[in-house]
C-alpha cells in the first residue's frame, strides 16, 4: 500500500502488515504503534565473509590454508519473515494412580514463514530486543522474502509448539502422563519480523562450500568446510595398518592356541579404533556451527560430534 510521510511528504510503498513505518527519506517513524506490528532487525556492519573465515580457521580438521586459499563466490543478504511469539503454559497430568505432576514453560519463539529457511532456523534463539519498526528500503537491500503464510497459520504453529514443549516437559517427569489439564495457556503474538541472514559461498580448491551467518549479530549458523587432505590419507593408512596388525598377530596366535579368540579380540580392538578414522575419512564436507557449545572434557569426542557430515 502507498503511504505518505507526514513530515517530508515523501510517498512510498509498504506491505499492508506494517502499521508503523520509518520514512526512508527523512527517518520519521509514523503510524499507529502496537505490539502486533511489522519489524525488522538492522544488519550488522561487519563483513560476513571475514567472520566466516575467522570461524573456519578455528575449526578442528579444517585445512590450515582455508582462509588464504579460498575465494568468495556468493554473498547474499536475505530478509527472512519470522512471526515472533511469547508462549506460556502451565499443565498438570496424572501420573500413576494418585500422583500429579506439573510442567511450566515460558519461552520466546519465532515461527519462520519461509520454506527455504524453515529447517535452518528451527528453534533458533532470535534476540527479543533490538527490533525496529519496518522500513521499506530493506525490501531492496537484499533478497526480501514475503511470508508464505499469514498470522492465523503462524498462530496454529505456535500453538502446537507450545503443546510439544509442555508435553516434552511432562514426559521428563512422568513415564506415562495421562489426563493432561491446562491450568494456564498464553500465546502472545509479538509481530512479524524480517530477520537478516547472510548466505555465503566460497570456493576452495575447485569445490564449493556454503555457509549461513546471522546478519544481525554475526553468529555462524552453519558452515561447510573441507577436511585436511593429509589427515585423510594418514587416517586411512593407520586404520589399514591396525587391521593388518590385528590379522598378522591374531592368526598365528589363534593357530598356536587352537582357538579363534586371539583373532577375534584383536580384530575387535582394531575395528573399534578404525571406526572414527574411517568415518571421518569418508566425509567430504563437514558442517560446523557456532550454535553448539564446545565442552571441555573428552574434547576429541565432542569436537567430532559437533560435525554433521553431509
Amino acid at each position: 500500500m502507498r503511504v505518505e510521510c507526514p513530515s517530508c511528504g515523501a510517498s512510498f510503498t509498504v506491505p499492508s502488515t506494517a502499521k508503523t513505518v520509518t520514512c526512508p527519506y527523512c527517518g520519521l517513524i509514523f503510524g499507529e504503534r502496537g505490539q502486533e506490528d511489522h519489524y525488522y532487525f538492522p544488519v550488522m556492519g561487519e563483513e560476513p565473509y571475514s567472520i566466516l573465515l575467522n570461524f573456519l580457521r578455528r575449526q578442528f580438521g579444517a585445512p590450515s590454508d582455508i582462509a588464504s586459499s579460498s575465494t568468495l563466490t556468493r554473498r547474499d543478504l536475505h530478509y527472512v519473515p519470522v512471526y515472533f511469539f511469547y508462549l506460556y503454559g502451565v499443565a498438570e497430568a496424572g501420573c500413576g494412580r494418585d500422583r500429579v505432576t506439573r510442567a511450566e514453560e515460558g519461552v520466546y519463539r519465532g515461527v519462520v514463514a519461509s520454506s527455504m529457511f524453515e529447517e535452518l532456523l528451527r528453534d533458533y534463539p532470535f534476540p527479543i530486543r533490538g527490533k525496529r519498526f519496518f522500513r521499506s528500503d530493506i525490501m531492496s537491500m537484499g533478497v526480501y522474502h514475503e511470508p508464505e503464510f499469514g498470522g492465523e497459520e503462524a498462530y496454529k504453529k505456535a500453538d502446537s509448539l507450545l503443546n510439544h514443549l509442555i508435553m516434552t516437559e511432562l514426559r521428563k517427569q512422568c513415564r506415562r502422563p495421562r489426563n493432561v489439564r491446562w491450568r494456564e495457556r498464553k500465546i502472545e503474538y509479538r509481530g512479524l519480523v524480517h530477520y537478516p541472514i547472510y548466505h555465503v559461498e566460497y570456493l576452495y580448491h575447485g569445490q564449493r562450500y556454503s555457509a549461513y551467518i546471522d546478519g544481525s549479530d554475526g553468529k555462524v549458523i552453519v558452515a561447510e568446510h573441507p577436511i585436511k587432505l593429509g589427515t585423510r590419507a594418514i587416517q586411512l593408512a593407520v586404520s589399514g595398518g591396525l587391521i593388518a596388525a590385528a590379522l598378522i598377530l591374531g592368526i598365528p596366535l589363534s593357530y598356536l592356541a587352537g582357538s579363534p579368540l586371539p583373532t577375534v579380540f584383536s580384530l575387535a580392538a582394531a575395528s573399534a579404533s578404525s571406526a572414527p578414522l574411517l568415518k571421518r575419512t569418508v566425509s567430504l564436507k563437514i558442517k560446523a556451527s557456532e550454535l553448539k557449545t564446545i565442552k571441555g572434557e573428552s574434547e576429541s569426542f565432542t569436537s567430532y560430534l559437533r560435525k554433521l557430515p553431509i
Binding site: 527517518g27 520519521l28 517513524i29 580457521r57 578455528r58 578442528f60 580438521g61 590450515s64 590454508d65 582462509a67 501420573c95 500413576g96 500422583r99 500429579v100 511450566e104 514453560e105 515460558g106 520466546y108 534463539p125 534476540p127 530486543r129 533490538g130 527490533k131 525496529r132 521428563k172 517427569q173 512422568c174 513415564r175 593407520v238 591396525l242 596388525a245 590385528a246 598377530l249 591374531g250 596366535l253 589363534s254 592356541a257 587352537g258 582357538s259 579368540l261 586371539p262 577375534v264 579380540f265 584383536s266 580384530l267 575387535a268 580392538a269 582394531a270 575395528s271 573399534a272 579404533s273 572414527p276 578414522l277 564446545i294 565442552k295 571441555g296 574434547e299 576429541s300 569436537s303 567430532y304
Partner: protein
C-alpha cells in the same frame, strides 16, 4: 537512520543517551557508563567485578603456555592474533527446590540383578547462574560464572563507579536481554530442570518427578569480565578464555602436538596387541567346553579393548584439546 528515541541523559556524565524503548541498559557513548533505560532493574542490585588490564591477562597467557608440557615446545611458533575483554551480564540467585521423585535402580547381589523402585522427597538448595542474554551459551561463560562462585572476587556496586572509572574501562559491555522479572522466571525453570537433571544422572529411570521452587533469593545482576585470546599456530586459530579479575585462564584450547598424537596411536596399537594377547591367554587356560562360563569375562575384555581403541582413535583424529583450568 533515526531510531525511536527516548530523551534520556547519562546519570554519570549528563550526556544525551540515545536508546530505543526496548533497550534495558545503554552504555553512554561519551563516558562509557552503564545506564538503566527500562525494565525491572534496580541500580542497587547491579554490581561489577573490575578487571585487570590487558598486559596482565597476556602475561598469564604466556605463563601458562611456558608452563604447559605440550605448549612449551611450540611456544615460539604461537602468535597472539587478538585479545578482547568483555563484561558479561549474569543473573545470580540461590533457590530452594522441594519435590518428590519415584525412580528405578538396578541392584546387584552376586550375579543376580534386580530392578528396584524407590521413592524420595528432597529439599535442595542450589546456586543458579544464568547469562543475561538470550542465546545458546557461548563457550567459557559457564566456567566464568563457576569460577566466580568458587573464588568470590570483590564486586563493586554500580553506584560506586564514577566517571573516571568508566572512562578508564577498556572492556566492551555486552547488552542484556532480560530484566529481573524475566530472569526470575528463567531462574525458577532452570533450578527445577537442574535438580531433575541431578536425579536423571543418579538413577536408571524416573517414573515420576514433581518439584517447586519454595524460596528464591532476589536475583542480582553482576557483570563479570571475560577475556578472549585468539592465537595462531600453523595457520589454524585456537582460543583461550581468562577471567578478568586476576587474569588467570579458565578454558584453553591447545593444538594437538605430535607427541600426544603418538600417545593416542600407541593406545590403538596397545588395544590390538592386548586383544591378541588376552585372546591367546584365555584360549590357553580354557578347557574345551568351558567357554560358556567365561562368556562374561570375554565380553568384558572385548568391551575394555574396544573402548581403549576407540577413545585413542578419537584422540588421534582430533586437532585440538580443550583444557579446563
Amino acid at each position: 537512520m533515526s531510531d525511536e528515541v527516548a530523551s534520556l541523559v547519562c546519570n554519570v556524565c549528563g550526556a544525551e543517551l540515545k536508546a530505543t524503548p526496548e533497550t534495558l541498559v545503554k552504555v553512554c557513548d561519551y563516558c562509557g557508563a552503564l545506564n538503566i533505560v527500562s525494565g525491572v532493574l534496580e541500580r542497587e542490585d547491579i554490581s561489577v567485578v573490575p578487571s585487570v588490564g590487558e598486559e596482565v591477562v597476556l602475561r598469564k597467557f604466556w605463563e601458562r603456555v611456558r608452563g604447559d608440557s605440550d605448549l612449551r615446545g611450540i611456544a615460539d611458533k604461537l602468535k597472539v592474533v587478538s585479545v578482547e575483554g568483555r563484561f558479561i551480564p549474569f543473573w545470580l540467585s540461590r533457590c530452594k527446590v522441594r519435590g518428590e521423585v519415584i525412580y528405578t535402580v538396578k541392584e546387584y547381589s552376586g550375579n543376580k540383578v534386580r530392578v528396584v523402585r524407590k521413592k524420595a522427597r528432597f529439599l535442595k538448595s542450589i546456586n543458579v547462574k544464568i547469562v543475561g542474554r538470550r542465546q545458546v551459551a557461548h563457550v567459557g561463560l559457564d566456567e566464568l560464572a563457576s569460577r566466580y562462585l568458587a573464588t568470590r572476587p570483590k564486586a563493586s556496586p554500580l553506584s560506586k563507579l564514577d566517571e573516571d572509572w568508566w572512562r578508564g574501562n577498556r572492556l566492551k559491555i555486552l547488552s542484556m536481554e532480560f530484566d529481573r522479572l524475566e530472569a526470575e522466571k528463567i531462574i525458577m525453570e532452570d533450578s527445577i530442570d537442574h535438580v531433575r537433571g541431578i536425579w536423571e544422572r543418579r538413577v536408571d529411570r524416573i517414573e515420576f518427578f514433581a518439584a517447586d521452587v519454595v524460596e528464591m533469593e532476589k536475583p542480582k545482576l553482576i557483570l563479570l569480565p571475560l577475556w578472549e585470546i585468539i592465537y595462531e599456530f600453523r595457520g589454524s586459530l585456537y582460543f583461550a578464555y581468562h577471567e578478568g579479575w586476576s587474569g588467570r585462564p579458565i578454558l584453553f584450547a591447545e593444538p594437538m602436538i605430535t607427541r600426544r598424537r603418538m600417545m593416542y596411536l600407541g593406545g590403538m596399537i596397545l588395544s590390538v596387541l592386548g586383544g591378541a594377547g588376552i585372546g591367546a591367554v584365555i584360549s590357553l587356560i580354557m578347557e574345551p567346553g568351558e567357554s560358556g562360563d567365561l562368556l562374561g569375562p570375554i565380553l568384558l575384555g572385548l568391551a575394555v579393548l574396544g573402548i581403549l581403541g576407540y577413545k585413542s582413535a578419537k584422540g588421534f583424529v582430533s586437532d585440538v584439546r580443550v583444557e579446563r583450568q
